[in-house]
């Protein structure tokens, strides 16, 4: 007997359960409530955006917002920064590839499920057998060459995360244990059981977040667990420094990483977002859904502490589908209608450039 038995049982049960008639009065009540909820949320987001001061006069002149908090900005550039130059590791037609600043593409033969993240040691990917592999890179541009992939775990995993700094690997094995270890190390510095229904969404040093339907989003550090009260179910979470950024179906919600309290009292409305290294900046983009509702497409950089935001210029890719930081300054954007467009943006230069176009569905960005 095979899983066909499950299939047959589900279909037979579904066919046998009587469907109630539609309660139109109750349904119209729900539609009205949903409209009120959406209207209120948009109004709150607009008020929040208008109330905050405009983010830093010029990002290029003063360095990144938030750097003043406990760090100095002595290394801020003297003049306008150059445009985006960092190579972008991507999944291209199911294989690991690197897109150079000039649009040249270096393709590997490695078939992958995802690019997990870029680190100083190479690119972390999950291959088609669910093994985590670190692929060293050498050379530059389209001449980038891929070193021998190293299996970082030695067994299939359920999920894997790399922290924002690219130093810590977190993975859940097939026995529902979360392992935290320094990238490239053979031993864990921490391990913890994870309930089968939990998803590990982010790791950062010895901290991690889980999401389950029963518990919601939980922030773990050592032996302490803190419930994080998101307004909507968490789809993604990013954790770095003092910031926990949670992507929900209704936008990014930002929390204090120390205690899980909301920093802005609700969603900031951006439906595509990515938290930068250090936890001081969130890059956001207009989604297709937001564009359909009349919002202008664009890329914004948002101060994770004040909510102030500033647009990045030169972007003409329409609604975005995904964002990923590729280093401390540069962000990759996946966009395009009827085709995939890869844009690269420099926060310091406040500028974006089209890097590559590909057939629809061919491109995927690093996940963390």
């Amino acid at each position: 007997m095979t899983t066909t038995e499950i299939r047959e049982a589900l279909h037979e049960v579904a066919a046998a359960v009587p469907a109630p008639g539609l309660d139109r009065v109750a349904f119209q009540d729900r539609v009205r409530a949903e409209r009120r909820r959406r209207t209120g949320r948009r109004a709150a987001a607009a008020v929040a955006a208008a109330a905050v001061a405009v983010l830093v006069g010029t990002l290029a002149a003063t360095g990144l917002p938030g750097e003043g908090r406990g760090t100095d900005v002595a290394d801020a550039p003297d003049g306008p920064a150059a445009g985006p130059t960092a190579p972008v590791p991507v999944s291209l037609e199911g294989r690991l590839a690197v897109v150079a600043a000039d649009g040249g593409v270096a393709r590997s033969d490695l078939r992958i499920e995802e690019v997990t993240g870029a680190t100083g040691s190479g690119v972390v990917v999950v291959d088609r057998d669910s093994h985590v592999r670190l692929v060293p890179l050498s050379g530059s541009g389209a001449a980038t060459s891929f070193g021998r992939p190293r299996d970082l775990v030695g067994a299939p995993v359920q999920s894997v995360q790399v922290d924002q700094a690219g130093l810590v690997l977190g993975f859940v094995d097939l026995d529902d244990t979360l392992h935290l270890r320094e990238l490239g190390a053979d031993d864990d510095f921490q391990a913890a059981a994870v309930a089968a229904a939990d998803r590990v969404l982010a790791v950062d040093g010895n901290r991690w977040t889980t999401y389950s339907e029963a518990e919601g989003l939980v922030l773990h550090e050592g032996g302490t667990s803190t419930m994080v009260g998101t307004e909507f179910p968490a789809a993604t979470a990013e954790l770095d420094g003092q910031t926990l950024a949670v992507g929900t179906s209704d936008g990014v919600e930002v929390f204090e990483a120390s205690n899980g309290t909301p920093r802005f009292g609700g969603s900031l409305g951006a439906e595509v977002s990515a938290l930068g290294a250090g936890g001081t900046l969130v890059v956001t983009a207009t989604s297709q859904d937001q564009s359909d509702r009349g919002m202008s497409a664009g890329i914004w950089v948002l101060d994770a502490f004040t909510g102030a935001q500033e647009p990045l210029h030169g972007y003409d890719g329409g609604p975005a589908r995904d964002l990923a930081w590729v280093d401390d300054d540069e962000v990759a954007v996946l966009a395009g209608s009827g085709r995939d467009e890869l844009w690269a943006c420099s926060v310091a230069a406040a500028r974006c450039e089209l890097r590559l176009t590909a057939t629809a569905g061919a491109l995927a960005l690093p996940r963390s």
Binding site: A9, A14, V17, A26, R30, R35, E113
Partner: protein, 165 residues
């Protein structure tokens, strides 16, 4: 009534029953299924004009149900238990006895694991499509399927369930 609402009415009338069945398999409870489906359809209704491919509306509602279901679980977790006792397994369903036993065990699976089974084996989605709808990696979908089958096999050794790709 605006045109788009008329079209939504037609969609809802045509798809209410099949979508209810999916909701029932996701929740394991008829009252919860009706609640979940109404919420997902209300969300779909107010966004109807932004759904360009109306042929994909089923998928939109399904994703709304998958994403909305956790709120129900969390809400019930805060309620007094006596106010919402889970519906007992419905022995009155006219299904084969061994399928009913299997369904009872499926209802006991963790919600996301159950959702993986429903999307893969009832909605006939691929591993990649299931991963996309649930926000999981393909590896996680495979492992959730593996764990689900392992649990069902342990609970029902006589069924001798095996995994197929």
């Amino acid at each position: 009534m605006p045109t788009e609402e008329l079209r939504f009415e037609e969609f809802m009338a045509a798809r209410w029953q099949p979508l209810f069945r999916t909701a029932y398999l996701l929740t394991g409870d008829r009252h919860d299924a009706e609640d979940l489906l109404q919420t997902a359809l209300a969300r779909t209704c107010v966004r109807w004009d932004s759904i360009r491919d109306k042929g994909a509306a089923d998928s939109y509602v399904r994703r709304a149900m998958v994403h909305e279901a956790p709120r129900g679980w969390r809400r019930r977790g805060r309620e007094v238990v006596a106010e919402h006792l889970p519906e007992p397994a419905d022995d009155s369903l006219a299904v084969r006895a061994d399928h009913l036993v299997l369904w009872q065990e499926v209802r006991r699976l963790p919600p996301r694991m159950r959702a993986v089974l429903v999307l893969r084996f009832f909605e006939d989605l691929s591993v990649a499509q299931t991963a996309h709808e649930l926000g999981l990696s393909e590896g996680a979908v495979k492992s959730q399927t593996h764990h689900a089958v392992r649990r069902l096999r342990a609970a029902l050794p006589d069924l001798e369930l095996e995994e197929t790709s």
